[in-house]
Subunit: 227 residues, 8 copies
């Protein structure tokens, strides 16, 4: 028995859920229309649900023709086709942003984390230029099993949170800013060089990737280790 589906130009990794515990998610950006629809259908058939990130509204229209129950969220740019049963959400993941311009990335994280079956607490616009806004949220932060810290410009939010909490902080640099922000590289460097402990970093604007890791951690915290 094959552990992938060999379609024209792609090899769908249908074994992924067994190996990793999460089924394949579609990165829609730049995908050809005809191919995209086919991909959603095949993965929905295989897994009973399917999600795509970085989708345009036009792509959503194409997917909806084949899968009428598909839903689109403008802010996060996510297409979801859920199964018939309501998911039971577990544990808690906190998603924080430094500013309001970081919210689209944050929603990519939050919606992904919910799709993967996690409770999510949103804590937005708590950047370090008004540190009192963050300090008032420490109890909420400490109630999570994993924290996603999203910031552009100088990206200092992750370091401050890292010093305040017990659980892992996944830092997401964003391309928000201008001039010497280098499209988000400045925030990435800030987070990689953090003087605080417990901070690891994903790619610029990669809200999805942070949610994946936070989901792994939250699952371990709630369901326990295999060890």
């Amino acid at each position: 028995m094959e552990n992938f589906i060999d379609v024209d130009y792609a090899k769908l990794d249908t074994d992924r859920r067994r190996r990793t515990g999460f089924s394949e998610v579609i990165f829609c950006q730049g995908k050809d229309d005809s191919f995209l629809q086919d991909l959603f259908v095949k993965l929905f058939d295989a897994n009973g649900e399917v999600m795509g990130t970085r989708a345009t509204e036009a792509q959503y229209e194409i997917v909806r023709q084949a899968l009428p129950s598909a839903k689109y969220d403008k802010l996060s740019r996510i297409i979801r086709v859920c199964g018939s049963d309501q998911k039971t959400l577990i544990g808690n993941i906190a998603v924080c942003t430094a500013g309001t311009a970081d919210i689209p990335v944050a929603e990519e994280s939050a919606v992904t984390a919910e799709f993967f079956g996690n409770n999510v607490t949103r804590i937005y616009d708590v950047g370090v230029s008004g540190i009192h806004r963050l300090l008032g949220q420490v109890d909420k932060l400490n109630a999570a099993n994993a924290i996603i810290a999203i910031a552009g410009m100088e990206g200092a939010l992750a370091s401050v949170i890292g010093g305040l909490v017990r659980v892992p902080v996944i830092a997401v640099p964003t391309s928000v800013g201008y001039g010497a922000n280098l499209g988000g590289l400045s925030a990435l460097l800030t987070m990689i060089n953090s003087c605080a402990n417990g901070i690891s970093v994903v790619n610029i604007d990669n809200g999805y990737g942070a949610a994946y890791i936070a989901s792994q951690i939250n699952r371990l915290a709630v369901k326990g280790s295999a060890v």
Copy 2:
């Protein structure tokens, strides 16, 4: 009551263990000798144990004068002063390297993780140029609650592991290599841009930082979440 000790030129964060669950570790590199000894003593007094990373043998000799039970590990360059009781180690963390030149960074991870109370599985020299060496270790990888993937040069190890496992992979780029490796930046970029899920990245050669995060995750997996 103060939550830090104000010594000459430093403010020791004695509240850290309460906030984060781990007491302060000393980054020895570049620290002045007289100051270093004082720091080890004060933190040992406060916490009943103390550890320092990036230490030279000369620094160890100075620490040992004040704390005769101090131990030094040449490979990881870590000084440890342990308490009288044997720690009970919990769960499991896997530490992997691509090559043999990455082992000093890996030992910084492994020794730190053990100091923080975790069981550690070492899997060294399983880089992608001979992929069969890694594929034989998948069961060991899947028995861990967190995996630390350490690689220099092109740093491809983390992506391959990420595609094989269920648990978070903390990727550590190393400065191993030459020419266009840019002192480890090339491996860092590889890991940040990984096409695999579940991978987050810490600073170049930061074995300690990866162990800290893996310890947070392993603790959540074994002891469960507060949620």
Copy 3:
């Protein structure tokens, strides 16, 4: 007798086929319309066939007015005007991609290699995040005289292939990705720093260039050396 044609603003290298074994190919991107048509005609007259890369459909329409037998391939963006005789294809070149988004670059390689008279085996979407998809293709890889490995994002595919085969791997970094992929520089650095042997690298998205080198190698393998 001159060994180049001196037209307005250009010196066509009509000696190239004698020196290198391949006639000049037109890089269409940014070429002026009137000039482009003239170039296709002059090189077709000189060589009995002609090919252009990075062509738009509008450029194709202009070329077709002068050379009605011209053909255009949308995916690879290549214009071909072939001679009357069917070419006999020799040997074998494998063209591999990490993901589906790398396919346009791969088709530039594959179509070029076919134009230059080589058999081509396409192996797409075998990136390292699901390594089992690649491992199933090792026999196909070993049946080629040269392998083109095309990948964006972290570009780890080339290293893994390099460790599995006997023949040269020409690595093509692509601009596929986002954030810290630096428009393909990250994948380029990965490939240049590869820990595996037998890997050399061409410019980002340079599918044509990789096919040229693979054709040189395949020709040597099939026709033997002059030495």
Copy 4:
């Protein structure tokens, strides 16, 4: 009358005090020994006092042969030759560091500011990984007319201070750190991209430059503007 002294290989800017209000300071690093002594003597003769930064102890010994009242401070690496009268210090400048490794740069700032006639408040080791240490110092910060914020690694200190105070913050990135700190460029980018207001930046490790600007501001605050 000339407004500079033309010595061998140099043109001493003796007009500088008139133009700028501060006499020329000697950047000792890399200066030839014979030349250095001459420079100290000439500027002491012209101004009645003289200071040099980035000096080695060996350079100090040479200066002291000609100017026996010269003093050397090991931590800041500054040579001072003061006039006979005690200076009256004015106003207040706060000098803050994120960590203890930043203190040599901080002392270059503090000693320079004192030489230029300012009161200085030192606030060291208040980095963002333990934010409570900084929050306890807000009153001290608000008592200064200018604040120098010195940090390496991710350099987040300046942003947090900027959000807490009324007066200008001069941010000094330091080369403290390792890996992707890029010799201090990472901290520089953090500070340049700060989301907080009131922050401007000088070169990496440039404690002297920050003190010069803080002195200009403190002088304006105490003595008032000419406008």
Copy 5:
């Protein structure tokens, strides 16, 4: 009593004026239309005046619907809604540019400084390629309490001014130029490495940020320090 307003997706820092002496200014670029209007209204209600930078004309139209007294300045791209009373302007800030292409950034500085209650002297097109144009303005420069030096391309203006004056120079690199100007990074590096004293730097094109700092300094010079 709360010190911020918790609206949908944002936490307005209404305590900022108390802490810093300046109320919050809106960075309009990329803000959602509905949200933008709400933000202007809430901050106008809280502070009796409000200003937004980097605004498009379309954004202005939206703001004007809610706040009819809003004014828009095309060159600086600033929206202002002033209170009923005429402000008394204090002291003096000089705003200089190297070329005419730097003027939009300069006007962002000048208009901001006027909004914050400062007198402003504009000195435009005095770049170093015709140094006599700058030398004729030295008296004007020396009449200011703070100088903003704005330049793109090679950014040498700040260094020359720094050598001529007594007061702090805030240098603003601009993205004006082409080729190896790296979007303004070249000018930023020039200014950070200045051989002249008294120069600190803000982000590329950050006219607003420079005006904020100059306003802090001018306020200290006119109103005196609290010390």
Copy 6:
């Protein structure tokens, strides 16, 4: 039967010769002394010959204690331990350098290629500043099955050779140069962006890697393809 030897801290890839046709070569730089000797012995036992690159004379002395027939070449820094039989060299590889300072890298290429069983033609100091020196060698270049072009500084040699020959050119940028050569990155970029066809690039100073690829190509040319 295992396809690797699991020693302390390493997994020797004894299957490599079967997979790739070349046995494992030791990169000596940074290897621990005791470990190095063991590695040479184990690989000599497995393969009947062994080679190490980037070796110091001190490392050679250690290897010679265990393997008295070991030879050391100072210029290329290669240690070789050959088998008892004389190898028959096949085909031809040309190794070219731009200048005399590139010769150590060239000798790493040449000695490696000879160890792998190839005839080698050395063509040194034919850089583009005196192009007539290169033009006189075209016949020698055309007699090779693969050409290694080694150059530092601006690295233009590869492009000129690429335009003159029929066979693949493997370009090796070197760190020779100063200032803006960026440790060899400048030459690497030149070679990657070559306007000539048939050029692929390996890491800076990677003479070994280029020889490996040239050996693969020469073997295909002489022994023919498996296809």
Copy 7:
């Protein structure tokens, strides 16, 4: 008498011709329409002729309304308004390109040089991938007093020319290329690191700047030095 004209927002350097021997040229890119017309008129009145670079056709239409004798050259994007007398052209400047895509930059050089009163020899499409095309032009090169070498991609042309001639070579990197050409930085680095003598470099695509320097040199060669 003033040596500049102080118009709204600009200080026209009417002294420039006296100081430098060339009157001010207008860089049109990004200039406001109303301002641009005024600038052309004022400089035409002052100097009897005027030229602008990087102009669009729309800008040309605006200039022509005020100065009907204005001429526009599409390829070089230059607007010229000449005086009534025919200029006598002196000496000789050679303008060379590597490829046809570099011609717009070359024409900016050539047309500028002609406007400044120099004879120009155009030698286009002589890049190093077909070196015989260049070698046939050596006599033409040696007949010039200054040579402008224009190349994108790897930019090797300047080095080869530098080794063949007696006169200065001004190298102009162009943004022609893709991928790792970094918008022309790669060619710039090639030229700056040239192993050949007699090569100096101007900004990417700066055809005008190269023509200015070549004109200075040609003038010295023909008219002799003042020394």
Copy 8:
């Protein structure tokens, strides 16, 4: 007759004087001792004089053994072996530096220019932080046929000189500075992006290269063009 000498490992370009008007100069840095002596002797025999740059004193001792009339200049690090006849120096070249730390590079320029037969005017320590020092030298600058402007740190000197003179300015960035000077790249970028006309740039610290170009220009100015 051959136009180069083929020695071991090098091809001495004895045709260079005929082609370029200057005989080959030896770049001593990194050259092997035995080889270096041979090179000096062979070039002295061919040309009647010889010069080497970047030489150590130890290298000088070796050269002097074979050529007792060799002279060494410590500051410029140049070895010269002159012919018996006194050269007649022609025209004039000005060599300027921003600071005293740039003088070693300046002396490499000045001594080279004198060796090539030019009169040299040295103008040192006239950087822009005290612009009056430079303005006093304008007559000297205008008396030269070419000007070499040497500066590290922010490198603004070249732009200011460019605006003041009629003749070409060859700009030499130096590695003088620290922090964000990036080993001289910052000054290089400043000079490449200069807003002034007439400035072209050579590699960091390349005093020799600048002198070569200035000598070409001075020769043309004094001896006239061939045209």
